[in-house]
């Protein structure tokens, strides 16, 4: 199935800003994040179609996964 992935801040480095990807049916957000070489602790915020998700959120055809690193400085 085809999904979209959006990456933010440092997660774009050496990867992409936004990309359409083919993943196997039954994939989770965590599967996609791991395939991209993003460590779990780097994925502070995972949104699937704008809704709060996590590594185990199952994806469906046409979903958009957005991944944000933790930004905590002041």
């Amino acid at each position: 199935m085809r999904i979209s992935v959006k990456l933010f801040a440092t997660l774009r480095e050496g990867r992409f800003t936004s990309d359409a990807r083919d993943v196997s049916a039954g994939s989770t957000a965590g599967d996609v994040i791991r395939q991209l070489g993003i460590r779990e602790e780097e994925a502070a915020l995972i949104l699937v179609n704008g809704k709060h998700g996590d590594m185990s959120t199952f994806l469906s055809e046409g979903d958009t996964v957005a991944v944000f690193p933790p930004i905590g400085g002041g």
Partner: protein, 341 residues
């Protein structure tokens, strides 16, 4: 609008605010429910001398309506059109034994606009300026974000600021923290913030708390404010602050930065935005551990926070509620991301 409020009205609402400006030390301690040990020596005194043993409203009551109409007359005589120069405000405060903040409030109520806010004018009305003057904002953290937020809120004309930070300025703050200078290294950030505001806009009352924010102390630290600005540098502390704001039903304007990147959002009571955003984080420090923070990122993000705080105070515009604005100064992109539970 009557120029002088009856004393009954002075015991609450805006009248009470007037007393806060007059006696930053004693009255703040009462207003914020702080134990004496928390406020001892912390409240920054304005440079204009004022009588410490009277409530301002009592002073006004004793002086009576005639005195207040005299003051109005005095201000009008010194105004240029409807613009009130700072020198007239300061002289009036001294002559009538009022705080600069209270004098400013009375001037705005009389339709006089302080010259210092003249360039606010196309954006903010007199009524808006009066709301800001009567407002109290807590800025939690006086470092990179907090310094700029405090500066901008004071220049904007927010009448009362509670500024909280346990730290002193260190050399490595000099690259980005607007309040840091070679002269203030080793001094408490919250006290330096208060001194800066007294230099920039002495009509603003500042309560500096040289203390770490903590959820257990939150009622004493932030209760009674209209808006809280999150300028912390620790994710777990931010989560505690967000929870405290939920408990106290306070709007929280969040900003955080790392390197070229930042984010801003506004958590209104009941929305739990921050716990949704950071709920997966187990660490206190994010990617700023590797990236650090350059000079421009805190200035950008804190300015966005100041704009948000202004809008929330005035009920204007469309604050970042249920959405986060992501800032990427490397690609120079600002993207809005919707957040839902």
């Amino acid at each position: 609008m009557p120029f002088f409020r009856p004393s009954a009205e002075d015991s609450q609402g805006a009248g009470e605010r007037g007393t806060d400006w007059f006696l930053p030390g004693a009255s703040k301690a009462g207003t914020l429910d702080l134990p004496p040990e928390e406020t001892a020596g912390l409240c920054y005194q304005l440079k204009i001398p004022h009588r410490k043993n009277h409530r301002e409203s009592d002073v006004e009551s004793a002086r009576g309506l005639k005195g207040m109409s005299d003051l109005e007359e005095y201000l009008r005589a010194r105004a240029q059109g409807d613009l009130l120069p700072w020198s007239a405000q300061a002289d009036a405060a001294r002559q009538y034994g009022l705080s600069l903040g209270r004098t400013e409030e009375l001037a705005l109520e009389a339709g006089l606009f302080p010259v210092r806010y003249r360039r606010n004018r196309q954006t903010l009305s007199s009524a808006d300026q009066l709301v800001l003057l009567r407002s109290r904002v807590a800025v939690v953290g006086c470092g990179g974000l907090g310094g700029y937020a405090i500066e901008e809120l004071a220049r904007l004309g927010v009448g009362s600021l509670t500024v909280i930070d346990p730290d002193v300025f260190e050399e490595h703050n000099l690259n980005r923290q607007i309040l840091a200078s070679a002269e203030v290294l080793g001094l408490p950030k919250a006290e330096v913030a208060a001194r800066r505001v007294a230099d920039v806009n002495p009509a603003v009352t500042v309560v500096p708390l040289v203390a770490a924010f903590s959820k257990t102390k939150a009622p004493g630290q932030i209760r009674g404010v209209e808006v809280v600005v999150d300028a912390l540098d620790d994710i777990q502390a931010r989560l505690e602050l967000a929870e405290a704001c939920e408990d106290l039903s306070l709007p929280l304007v969040h900003g955080s930065i790392a390197g070229w990147y930042g984010q801003v959002t506004t958590q209104m009571p009941g929305t739990k935005t921050l716990s949704n955003m950071y709920g997966r984080c187990r660490e206190a420090i994010g990617i700023e551990r590797e990236l650090g923070n350059p000079s421009f990122t805190p200035a950008v993000v804190a300015s966005l926070q100041a704009a948000e705080a202004c809008k929330v105070l005035l009920g204007k515009g469309r604050p970042l509620v249920g959405r986060v604005l992501t800032v990427n100064l490397l690609d120079m992109t600002f993207e809005e991301v919707a957040l839902s539970d």
